[in-house]
């Protein structure tokens, strides 16, 4: 068994998203504040957080920092730029291009996707109807999550996912914010484009992107690179989406995010019975924890998964814990970091 470090001397990580592209979503005064952040720093900012009556916060190198009115990052909140209710209103207006009504459905899920694949999470006063969230109004907090492509991070794993001329049924397991979706997107992109060195021809990949996270679609158009032969069903639930793809798009591989509900078992079974391979992700700290979730346990025990990729954030997001040949199979690849710092 090879060690991960031996296989990843210099990963070609490409930072695609420029700070200017991010700043254009904000009102002029916040653009001025945030443009004061230097280029070395903004490359490592992953989130910008706004809260009513609280200081402006960024997540820089996985650490929470405050932003001063001149764009300096400061440790003390007293020196930071404080936000008022009007500021949040202005920012919401700018992020929605003055069209909150057009994003009602997305807002009920607590986030919207912007051009470039960036995502903005919202919290505020929830209005429910018949036990379901109808809309979130009086928005009090915003979390702008910057999307960055991490090209090449899947390449060292790919040889383990391709065998006898077919893509093996794969599941990526990790806790939240450990890079599952990023790795899934990269695998999808690679197998869709084809990897000549590994003998992988370009495959038709159907993506059921329930929460617009994989392709970062804006108005139905993928904003992140998911490959040349990828068809994306955006904001569609897995159950319906998988059948739609099977009926209409003749995919070689179906990719979807965050499975684990009780009825997901039937959906995956149908994919397999249709002779199509799949790659899915699920939330779990490790295999033991995954087996405690009834929905996942059923899938794993039935041997539906041929390759299990386990990620963690032990050495930063995207730390590869292992690649296993299914639940009971041997460990094929051991712990290391999928991406080198600076993170993409």
């Amino acid at each position: 068994m090879k060690k991960w470090e031996e296989m990843t001397p210099n990963l070609p990580t490409e930072i695609k998203s420029s700070w200017q592209q991010v700043l254009r979503f904000f009102p002029v005064d916040f653009r001025q504040i945030l443009s004061g952040i230097g280029p070395k720093i903004y490359r490592e900012i992953s989130e910008i957080r706004f809260r009513i009556n609280q200081p402006l916060e960024v997540v820089y190198q996985k650490r929470s920092m405050w932003v001063a009115s001149d764009g300096r990052l400061v440790d003390s909140p007293e020196h930071a730029h404080w936000l008022r209710a009007e500021d949040i209103g202005k920012i919401v207006n700018a992020l929605t291009a003055g069209s909150i009504y057009a994003l009602e459905e997305e807002l009920t899920k607590g986030y919207i996707t912007l051009p470039g694949g960036h995502r903005v999470g919202f919290t505020g006063h929830v209005v429910s109807e018949a036990g379901r969230i109808r809309l979130i109004r009086n928005i009090s907090s915003l979390n702008f999550r910057i999307a960055r492509a991490c090209l090449g991070i899947a390449r060292p794993i790919l040889p383990y996912l391709w065998k006898d001329g077919r893509f093996l049924k794969t599941m990526i397991l990790s806790p939240p914010a450990c890079g599952k979706t990023t790795l899934l997107r990269e695998i999808v992109r690679e197998i869709s484009n084809g990897v000549a060195e590994l003998g992988i021809p370009g495959l038709h990949v159907g993506v059921v992107d329930e929460r617009s996270e994989i392709a970062g679609s804006f108005q139905g158009t993928p904003q992140l690179d998911v490959g040349l032969r990828t068809d994306v069903l955006d904001a569609c639930n897995k159950g319906e989406g998988v059948y739609l793809l099977l009926r209409s798009m003749n995919p070689d591989v179906i990719a979807t995010d965050e499975i684990g509900a009780e009825n997901d078992f039937e959906v995956l079974e149908d994919i397999i019975n249709a002779g199509v391979s799949m790659i899915v992700t699920a939330h779990a700290m490790n295999l033991t924890e995954a087996m405690c979730r009834p929905g996942l346990r059923r899938i794993l025990e039935r041997g539906m998964i041929e390759r299990l990729i386990i990620l963690s954030s032990r050495s930063g997001a995207g730390t590869l814990e292992s690649v296993r040949a299914g639940v009971a199979g041997p460990e094929l690849l051991r712990r290391s970091s999928v991406t080198e710092e600076p993170k993409c």
């Binding site: 979503f25 207006n93 700018a94 291009a97 003055g98």
Partner: protein
């Protein structure tokens, strides 16, 4: 001869002024009708298609018959999209201040201005309700404007000529 020319000039000028005045009554009706169509379009786009304002304004620009109005809505579409950093209220206000709407009365502008304060900021049901109210009020103004137009267009035209003729008689 000189008197003749002078008389023609005076009568011509006052008649023209009368026609211009009459034209403003007709122009107001035309603009109100145009706004009612625009609001119907916005209502459909918001209520049934959930289209964003930049796209909707862009479509309105293609829909309106007059090039100048088209230009205004194209500019509004660009201003409201990502990157401008301006509020819809502000952009709407600027749109209403254009000289293209000079024929509208203050009451018409106030109705439209009020809509601008809410446009895009609430859920689609509320948006449709607000547009409906705006349309009803503009329709009332249009009815009054049309009645006024019927009554005053002829008067303006004739009075322009009559004032000119009276002036000529007094002067010469």
């Amino acid at each position: 001869m000189l008197k003749m020319v002078g008389a023609f000039l005076i009568i011509g000028a006052t008649t023209l002024a009368g026609f211009i005045r009459a034209g403003r009554y007709r122009e107001r009706c035309r603009l109100l009708n145009q706004w009612l169509s625009i609001l119907t379009f916005l209502k459909t786009g918001i209520g049934y298609q959930a289209e964003r304002l930049p796209e909707l304004f862009g479509k309105v620009a293609a829909l309106v018959q007059y090039q100048e109005l088209s230009r205004l809505f194209r500019a509004a579409a660009e201003a409201v999209d990502f990157g401008s950093g301006r509020s819809v209220d502000d952009i709407w206000e600027q749109l209403l201040q254009d000289p293209q709407w000079d024929a509208l009365h203050l009451s018409d502008r106030l109705i439209l201005r009020e809509l601008g304060q809410y446009l895009g900021t609430t859920d689609y049901r509320d948006q449709v309700a607000k547009i409906n109210v705006c349309q009803e009020r503009l329709q009332q103004n249009l009815n009054l404007a049309e009645a006024e137009c019927h009554k005053k267009v002829g008067i303006c035209r004739y009075s322009g000529f009559a004032v000119g003729a009276a002036a000529v008689l007094l002067l010469f």
